[in-house]
């Protein structure tokens, strides 16, 4: 970790903060503070430079046009690339996940370049939109429990050789490729389609990012009573949805 405080950077709240993914910022900040960490939160609007010295960068979901605008502005800002070269952690959701890849389809139906930080590329589904509760089993190497979330997207994200799926879907659509993959990750860069927000439904994901930032294998325990109650309720609701 760079300085004494955990530097938590929220990319473009003015464009990519439409589906409650602001909650990811709030949960990471809360859980870091509960562990006695200082947190410096940096909200970067799309007319500002992305700082290079952050520890954790979060990018949320957004509507189609804001996604294109965000992609255009991030492509000409070297900040996020530099941060990743410095070992920073990046976590993108939905539109933010697509932007991390090589390309996505924009609001005009055109293929648009992403940032190429993940070896994935996104297309748009014909008509079917994945909307609903989703369950997925994370890559065992990440040491995470079952992931629960809410998905709401028409995008299809194809994974290249350079990434692993973040999880395998048991209920829901995930990447929409039909092979049961959900999200993608490599080293310290992660992408997912899960809203909910994903950190509120899966506080272990927030903890994973904090552990990676601190380069530690464990954190002091935090009170998970209400998270656990919510998780059991949503997991069983999703299971009944398909039963």
């Amino acid at each position: 970790m760079s300085e004494s405080a955990l530097r938590l950077v929220w990319i473009y709240p003015d464009l990519l903060s439409t589906y409650g993914d602001r909650g990811n910022v709030l949960v990471v900040e809360r859980r870091a503070r509960q562990r006695g960490l200082q947190v410096e939160r940096i909200d970067v609007r799309s007319d500002q430079q992305v700082p290079t010295s952050g520890d954790i960068y979060l990018i949320g979901g957004g509507e189609d046009r804001p996604q294109r605008l965000a992609g255009e502005r991030l492509r000409v800002d070297p900040g996020l690339h530099r941060a990743v070269e410095n070992g920073a952690i990046v976590f993108g959701v939905c539109a933010g996940f697509q932007i991390l890849g090589h390309e996505f389809v924009d609001d005009r139906g055109e293929r648009t370049s992403g940032l190429g930080l993940l070896d994935v590329w996104s297309t748009r589904g014909e008509s079917h939109r994945n909307v609903g509760d989703i369950l997925a089993e994370p890559d065992p190497r990440l040491g995470l429990p079952t992931m629960t979330g809410f998905e709401n997207h028409q995008g299809i994200t194809h994974l290249g050789q350079g990434v692993s799926p973040l999880a395998r879907v048991t209920v829901g659509g995930g990447n929409g490729t039909g092979d049961g993959t959900e999200g993608a990750w490599r080293d310290t860069v992660f992408g997912t389609y899960l809203h909910g927000p994903v950190m509120a439904r899966n506080p272990a994901v927030a903890d994973l990012l904090i552990k990676l930032a601190l380069d530690v294998s464990a954190l002091p325990p935090a009170d998970n009573t209400w998270y656990d109650a919510l998780r059991s309720e949503r997991i069983s609701a999703a299971q009944q949805q398909t039963a």
Binding site: L15, R22, G23, L26, R30, E63, P66, G132, F150, Y227
Partner: protein
């Protein structure tokens, strides 16, 4: 006016098919009512429109129609406008919020004697209803995120309004402080701009015209990239006054609480003046409105006063937090996620529940666990309960403020009536 639906005879001005349609619709509504399925207005309207697809247009022909659309405040403002215009003649209105074409058709079928039709319209249907009803005026109050798992993206909605209203003959009464509403209205020929305020701005940072980053010094807003900017308002809400185009301030004295209702009253005064009703007269008439479809209503539960407040989306919650009694007033939150509410609860994280720090809070509803996690992260003290009665029994002294989203609000109203 509230004509008795079963005794009302279709107006002489309607043709035979339209008369038949009205009669068939009323019969269907009566059957539905008798079966205990609510007012029957939606099913009645559907049946009537099937008999005569042009019925909405025909029913509007002899009325001066005013349409009201927005993300928040539609029902209340429709009620305020109806009260104000009664100064000039009888009014028919879909006062209970059935705001899609079938419900609107049913409401208008009750208004044979009316001069004015004051109609709340769902945002998605505005262009269609505006085409069918030939309105004299359309009030556009605000646009922000709402139920994104099932409705259009907010900017797309503004775009649809803009396209649908471009050729309209109506006078548009639009909120100049809302960039999306301004974008929607700015292609219209006749616009009366009202500085009605905007508390929730998270959907308004990106220029609706070119995508530039909006600058918002003080009450102004403008896009530095393309020059799209706040129009000069004709009417303005200033504190608890509405200032008319001549610069005269008129005091707003509502029984309804909160900044949002002052804003609704300012827009109402501007609408009323289009029909020759003086702002002073309009504002006086608005004072009689207390609760609107149960919203803002105070009820007694186990000897305690409970005020019922509806908040359906982040902008609505923000306005509601600004009107509740200060801490340590007890607050009950109830959230459901049925399809009428939106099945995705992620929006809870776009609401600043941090503002409830210092209040004792009780959470209930189908999604009380989502609320629990949200409040835990916000650092708010809360308890999870199963019912309003349980919350009231545990609440410390003071009026209980109960805030609920759509179906949770309906449930709350039923619970407190029993």
């Amino acid at each position: 006016m509230s004509a008795q639906p079963d005794s009302a005879v279709p107006s002489a001005s309607l043709n035979a098919r339209a008369k038949l349609a009205v009669t068939a619709g009323k019969a269907a509504a009566a059957v539905s009512r008798a079966a205990g399925r609510g007012s029957g207005s939606v099913i009645g309207g559907k049946v009537a429109l099937r008999v005569d697809p042009d019925l909405l247009s025909r029913l509007s022909e002899n009325l001066d129609v005013v349409l009201v659309s927005a993300t928040n405040g539609k029902t209340t403002t429709t009620r305020l406008i109806a009260e104000a215009l009664r100064a000039a003649g009888p009014v028919v209105s879909n006062a209970l919020g059935a705001n899609m074409p079938a419900g609107i058709t049913s409401a208008l079928a009750e208004g044979e004697q009316a001069r004015f039709g004051v109609i709340e319209v769902d945002e998605k249907y505005l262009a269609m209803v505006a085409r069918d009803t030939h309105p004299k005026a359309i009030a556009l109050l605000n646009l922000s995120r709402d139920q994104l798992d099932r409705s259009s993206e907010t900017r797309m909605l503004a775009e649809k309004w803009r396209e649908g209203l471009a050729g309209s003959e109506a006078v548009i009464i639009a909120n100049a402080d809302d960039p999306l509403v301004t974008w929607a209205a700015s292609s219209c020929r006749r616009v009366i701009w009202v500085a009605a305020g905007q508390a929730y701005r998270e959907d308004a940072w990106s220029c609706p015209s070119c995508g530039g980053v909006m600058q918002r010094p003080d009450e102004e807003w403008f896009c530095p990239s393309c020059g799209f900017r706040r129009p000069q308002p004709h009417w303005a809400l200033q504190g608890e006054f509405v200032v008319d185009p001549q610069g005269s301030p008129w005091p707003i004295r509502l029984q309804l609480p909160g900044r949002a209702n002052l804003s609704n009253a300012a827009s109402t005064a501007a609408v009323a003046s289009v029909f020759g009703v003086h702002p002073q007269v309009a504002l006086q008439r608005m004072e009689s409105v207390t609760a609107v479809a149960g919203r803002y209503e105070s009820v007694m539960v186990a000897g305690r006063e409970v005020r019922l407040l509806l908040a359906k989306n982040p902008a609505g919650w923000l306005e509601t937090f600004s009107l509740i009694d200060p801490a340590p007033a007890p607050v009950v939150l109830s959230v459901n996620a049925l399809s009428a509410d939106g099945t995705d609860t992620s929006w809870l994280w776009d609401v600043d529940y941090e503002r409830l720090v210092g209040h004792p809070v009780f959470v209930m509803g189908q999604r009380k666990l989502d609320l629990a996690v949200r409040l835990e992260v916000a650092g708010v003290q809360f308890q999870v309960v199963d019912s309003i009665q349980q919350a009231v029994a545990m609440a410390p002294a003071g009026r209980v403020e109960a805030i609920a989203n759509y179906t949770a609000f309906q449930q709350l109203r039923r619970d407190v009536q029993n």
